[in-house]
């Protein structure tokens, strides 16, 4: 059942439209991650949903209710802010219970609900603390509990983990995900961290310039990115433009090939092989020979930059390689994301059409 429906939404700041003809449907109890670079419209969408940015065109439905023109305080869509936005003059319990107090819920009921939420977000015993005395992770939990206290129709989270340090971030993201499964709330989370989106979301919407570039499950988005933009954004940082020289084709066309650094197999060839030219060869698999430019330690592997002809390719390798070491790189067909230059349609894992072109 659809809980949130956004239909042909146009929204922006003043005369500058950020979202143009935006459409999205979210099912009851689903968590969707909005993923995209800065300025792609993620936060504008959340602000439009919460009523902080007016929609100039289009409709927003929560269930059967149209909320497009409702003021922010009447939408029943709550937000968890990037900066937590807790009120420093109030205690933890007062922060969490504020939405209920505004709704004139009885004090005893507020107290029960606050206590229930304190247990859920693991902050028992801290109800009388001022929020200024809490750690970043605890503050974010208070913000989450505050947003959940009024039982919102939709919960939106605006980069909720970006202010937390790496270790706390891992914990909190698992906690948010398990809470979402436990309580079954419908939510929309904004992030620019692809790993966060993959771990937390039921579906991911990758945004580019105010439009959804691809909407799908984390596996679909990761394994079969529908465009060069999505592939690149999801971590396929290596890009090679492959010129097709086949004269039988109606026109010469370039193919954009993307692949991840962890998909590159690195071998150090014998002395004889190292005399081969530094060029890229593409025939189902992609192979090339080159020289190591630099190597960086990434913990469980080394990230090496290899110069292959006109291209610099990033590859992961189990051991360090000195500068100028000759190496052979191979990427198997199933790890390549290939797109036509003119029409950016999906052509994953070396598509049939592409293979036949060769």
């Amino acid at each position: 059942m659809t809980q949130l429906k956004i239909e042909n939404l146009h929204a922006g700041y003043g005369s500058k439209m950020i979202l143009n003809d935006f459409n999205l449907e979210i099912n009851q109890g689903e968590m969707i991650a909005l993923l995209g670079p800065s300025g792609c419209g993620k936060t504008t969408l959340l602000n439009a949903l919460c009523g902080f940015v007016p929609a100039s065109h289009g409709e927003i439905y929560v269930g059967d209710r149209v909320i497009t023109k409702l003021p922010a305080e009447k939408r029943n869509i709550t937000m968890v802010f990037q900066s937590y936005a807790l009120w420093p003059h109030l205690t933890v319990a007062q922060n969490i219970g504020y939405g209920l107090k505004v709704r004139k819920v009885k004090t005893a009921e507020i107290q029960d609900r606050v206590n229930e939420l304190l247990v859920i977000v693991k902050l028992e015993g801290l109800q009388n603390e001022k929020v200024t005395s809490l750690s970043g992770g605890q503050r974010q939990r208070v913000a989450l509990a505050r947003a959940l206290a009024i039982r919102p129709d939709v919960l939106v989270l605006d980069e909720p983990l970006s202010n937390l340090d790496a270790k706390v971030r891992l914990n909190v993201r698992h906690e948010i995900k398990s809470l979402q499964k436990q309580l079954g709330f419908t939510s929309l989370i904004v992030t620019h961290d692809q790993e966060e989106a993959l771990v937390m979301a039921d579906r991911i919407a990758v945004l580019n310039q105010g439009k959804i570039e691809q909407l799908g499950t984390p596996e679909e988005i990761y394994r079969t990115p529908s465009s060069a933009f999505v592939a690149n954004f999801m971590g396929a940082e290596n890009h090679i433009e492959w010129q097709n020289d086949d004269n039988t084709l109606p026109a010469k066309s370039a193919q954009q090939i993307y692949f991840r650094s962890e998909s590159v197999q690195v071998t150090v060839p014998s002395e004889k092989a190292s005399s081969l030219s530094n060029d890229v060869h593409f025939d189902s698999d992609l192979t090339c020979q080159g020289h190591v430019l630099q190597s960086a330690f990434f913990g469980h592997h080394y990230r090496i930059s290899v110069r292959c002809g006109a291209h610099t390719i990033q590859a992961d390798h189990h051991s360090d390689l000195p500068e100028n070491t000759p190496v052979t790189l191979r990427v198997t067909a199933d790890a390549l994301h290939i797109y036509n230059n003119q029409v950016e349609t999906a052509a994953h894992h070396v598509p049939t059409s592409f293979q036949s072109n060769k």
Partner: protein
Amino acid sequence: MHFKISKNLWLVAPAAIMVAILFLYPLCFSLYSAITLDNGSFTLEHLHTSFELYSNDILFTILIVLISVILLALLSTIIAALIVLSPFRSVVLILGVLYRLPLFIPFIVTAQMMRTFLAKNGLMNNAFIASGLMTPMDTVSFLGWSGIIITFVWKQLAFSTLLITGAMSALDESQIRAARNLGASRFKILTQIILPQIFPTLGVAMVLSTVTMMSVLSVPLMIGTGTPTMISADMAFRVNSYGDYHVANALGLVSYAICAGLAWFYLRHSLKDKGATA
């Protein structure tokens, strides 16, 4: 280290000497003069004379200042809240320019302006008569205690609104959004979220405004009706008519006490707040 300290002292010395000569010395001298005779012996006679002759004026001054401060706090908070929370941005822009104007008008000009505005045949009453809201027989003069309050509030409103608007704008915008998001009306956001956080700035604005009002001479002289009047006018009278610096300084001591009383009230509340936070 020794070199560093002496070097820093030299840097601070010019400013410290200026403060000592221009502020501390006259302050201490006036306090000394208020409680000593010409021969230098201690006495409470000047304070006694002050209360005997001017107790009504002291009470009048306290009332004028208190009413003005209350009105100031109320009005400047309302204007600042309109500027920060109003959804009508174009109105806010105009209000934002208008409220600052009194900042650039000196007290004496304000007093003169208010004389021509608030008098029985002044601009305000004439406007009411011309618009048919009032007949010439119904007009009353606002010169007197109400005129002094109106002048003080009009003049200080810009200053206190400037401070309060600044404090409100400095709050994280997302705190206000979070409250709206949870269903709070603009009035609740103002009273429950914004005001408790800007209370220290409101206090500073009111204490500074009190000090200004206590020290202004032109307004009670030009807007007031003679008796009772504010003690700043009495001090000028003692000095100009009798050359009596002792009683003038004793009245000055009463002024310090009134300002200190308000400052104590503000500090007590803000410290209590901080104590609760800690």
